[in-house]
Amino acid sequence: MKPFESPDYFNMDELLSDEEKMIRSAVREWVGENVMPVIEKAYLDAVFPRDLIPQMGELGLFGPNLPEKYGCAGTNNVAYGIMMQELERADSGVRSFASVQGSLVMYPIYAYGTEKQRQHWLPKLASGEKIGCFGLTEPDHGSDPGGMKTTAVKDGNSYILNGAKMWITNGTLADVAVVWAKLDGTVRGFLVEKGTPGFSAPEMHNKHSLRASVTSELILQDCRIPAENLLPESGGLKSPLGCLTQARYGIAWGVMGAAMACYDEALNYAKTRIQFDKPIASFQLVQQKLVYMVTEITKMQLLSLQLGRLKDQKKFKFTHVSMAKRNNVFQALEIARLARDILGANGITAEYQSMRHMCNLETVKTYEGTHDIHTLIIGADITGIPAYS
C-alpha cells in the first residue's frame, strides 16, 4: 500500500526541520503498519488495542517532550504535536491514550511531583510498562471542575480520599491515577495506585464515540494512600488546568490527523465514484466541499505550527491553546461530516474511516474544555470580562 501523504497546500513542510519530518515519517510508518490494520475492528469491538502500548513506549510516544533523564526523547513541542497528528490520523482513541499518558499523567508528576516521584514513575510511564489516568471530571462537575466534591483528609501519615470521578480515559487500565481532590478547600493532586483498598475503576460502556478507548469511573471510598503520594507542588485549580493546557496543545495538532484522513478518503472517493456518468468530483457542489476541507486543514496547520513555535519559545499562553483547540476540533468535525457525506451510503460503513473519525471528534469537541468553554476563555481574554464566573 502507498504510504499516507498529508495534504500540504501551502508548502508547510518547508517550515519543519529535518528532525521534525523524520519523526513524522517514523510515526507515520509505524501507524500505517501497526494501527491502521487493527483500529477499525477495535473500534467496532469497543476495545483499546493494548498490544500497541509497549510498541508506543518503544517508539517513545509517551511524554516525548519531557527530559531524557526520565527516559523520554526530549523532543521539541512541534515534534510532539506532529506525533499526535500522526496518531490521530489512525484514531482519536489512540491519540487520547498518548495524550493522557504524556500530558495528563507524566506532565503533572514532572511539574508538581518530587524528584523521587519522577524517578519512580516517569521511566516506567515512558516505556509503557505502567499506565496512568487523570481524574478531574466528576458526575456533577464537568465544565466547572472548581466545584468538585472529591475530598482528601490528612490522617497521620496518610490521606483519606472520598469521591467519584467520571469519564476517565484509561481508568480501568491504569496502574496509577492522578486524582484531583480538595484538601482543606484547595485542589491538590494525588497519586492513587491500582489495588489500593477503597479504590475501584469500573469501565463505562455503550459509547457511540471513542470506542477504541477505555473510559471509566473512579470510585474512592475511604481510600487511604501514603502521605508521600501527594504531588507537593500542586495547589489550586491552576494545577490540573496546567495539565489540560499541555493536553489541549496535543489535541489541536492531533485532530488535524483525523481531518487529513477524512479529506484524503473523500478526495480519493470523489475522484473514482461515478454518478451521472462522471466522477462525483466533477460536480461543483462536491468540489466546494473538498475545497472547504483542504482550506481549513491548511489554516489549522498554520495555527498549530505557530502555536508550537510559541510554545517552544516559551511565549505561548493558555488562551492561544484555547483558540487552537476550539478552532481545530470544530473544523476537523466539520471536515469529517463533509467526508462522510461525500462517501454517501458507503460512508456509514466500517469499510471507510470518516464516520469513525466523525463520531470520535464529538468527544474531542467536549473533552478538555468544551468548544463553548473555550469561547468563553477567549472571550474573557479579549474583553476582560469573564462570562462564566
Partner: protein, 249 residues
C-alpha cells in the same frame, strides 16, 4: 565487533520517478529520499550483532552534503557514527564508488562490512563484490540468515529455487537480502540522539568513470488488466493464466 555498513540514498520506491529533460537522469523535485531498502536490512543486522557481541556500527556513504539526512536515518536506528565520503554526486559507475569506499574501508579495521545486495535505483548488484575484491576479503551476498561465532561466520544465501549455506572467516563482506531481519522503527529517542552523533566528512578523489549513462527510458505503459466476471467458474482459467501467461505460479 567493529562493523561498517555502506548505505546509499535512493528514491523512495513508493514514488513514481520521471525522466528529466536531459534523458539521462531523473527529476529530483518532489522525490523522497530514503536509505536503499536492502541497506536497511544491512544496518539492522549490524545493530543486532553489536547488541549481542558489543562493538560499534559505522555508517559509510558517498555523496554530497544532502545525503546526510539519510545517514541520520541510519544513526536514528542506532548506528554509532558515520563517515560521509564527500563527492558532488553519487557516481553512476559502481567501480568508481567502490574505489572511493575501499579507500575509507581499508583503514577502519572492520570485522564485517555490510552492504545491501543491490541498490534499488540502478540495480547493478556489484558493490559487495567490487569492495570485497579490492580488499581481498570473502564476499557473501544475497544473505538471508547470518551467524557469527568468534572469527567465523555461516550464512544462508538465496540461490535460484533454494538456499545455499556457506562458511567463511572474518573479516568478510556481506550483501544483505530481504528477509535477513525486520528493520526496526526509528524511535523518537533514536532520532533525537542521531542529531548528536558525528558524521565525519572525508574527501574523495573519484576515478574517471568507465561507464556512463546515455539514456533512461521509462517502462512501457502497463497493459490493461483482465477482468473475470463469472466468479468461481473462472477459477481454473485464472489459475491457467497465472501459470502460463503471468508465470507467477
Amino acid at each position: 565487533m567493529n562493523i561498517a555498513v555502506c548505505i546509499k540514498q535512493t528514491p523512495d520506491t513508493a514514488i513514481r520517478v520521471k525522466v528529466a529533460d536531459d534523458g539521462k537522469s531523473i527529476v529530483q523535485d518532489g522525490i523522497q529520499w530514503v536509505i536503499n531498502p536492502y541497506d536497511e536490512f544491512a544496518v539492522e543486522e549490524a545493530l543486532q550483532l553489536t547488541e549481542k557481541h558489543g562493538g560499534e556500527v559505522t555508517i559509510v556513504s558517498l555523496g554530497p552534503a544532502g545525503i546526510e539526512k539519510t545517514i541520520r536515518e541510519a544513526l536514528a536506528m542506532g548506528a554509532h557514527k558515520a563517515i560521509r565520503i564527500d563527492a558532488d554526486h553519487i557516481p553512476d559507475d559502481p567501480s568508481v564508488t567502490a574505489k572511493a569506499l575501499v579507500e575509507v574501508l581499508k583503514n577502519g579495521n572492520y570485522d564485517l562490512i555490510f552492504l545491501g545486495r543491490q541498490a534499488v535505483d540502478d540495480d547493478h548488484h556489484q558493490m559487495a563484490s567490487l569492495v570485497s575484491q579490492a580488499l581481498g576479503l570473502p564476499c557473501v551476498t544475497v544473505v538471508v540468515k547470518l551467524e557469527i561465532d568468534g572469527g567465523k561466520g555461516t550464512a544462508l544465501r538465496e540461490v535460484e529455487g533454494g538456499y545455499e549455506k556457506v562458511a567463511f572467516a572474518l573479516p568478510a563482506v556481506i550483501g544483505a537480502n530481504r528477509h535477513l531481519n525486520t528493520p526496526r522503527y526509528r524511535s523518537l529517542k533514536g532520532i533525537m540522539q542521531a542529531k548528536k552523533k558525528t558524521i565525519e566528512v572525508l574527501p574523495a578523489t573519484l576515478a574517471a568513470p568507465k561507464l556512463v549513462v546515455e539514456k533512461l527510458t521509462p517502462p512501457p505503459a502497463k497493459k490493461e488488466g483482465k477482468i473475470f466476471k463469472n466468479g468461481a467458474a473462472d477459477a481454473a482459467e485464472v489459475a491457467r493464466l497465472l501459470r502460463d501467461e503471468a508465470k507467477v505460479i
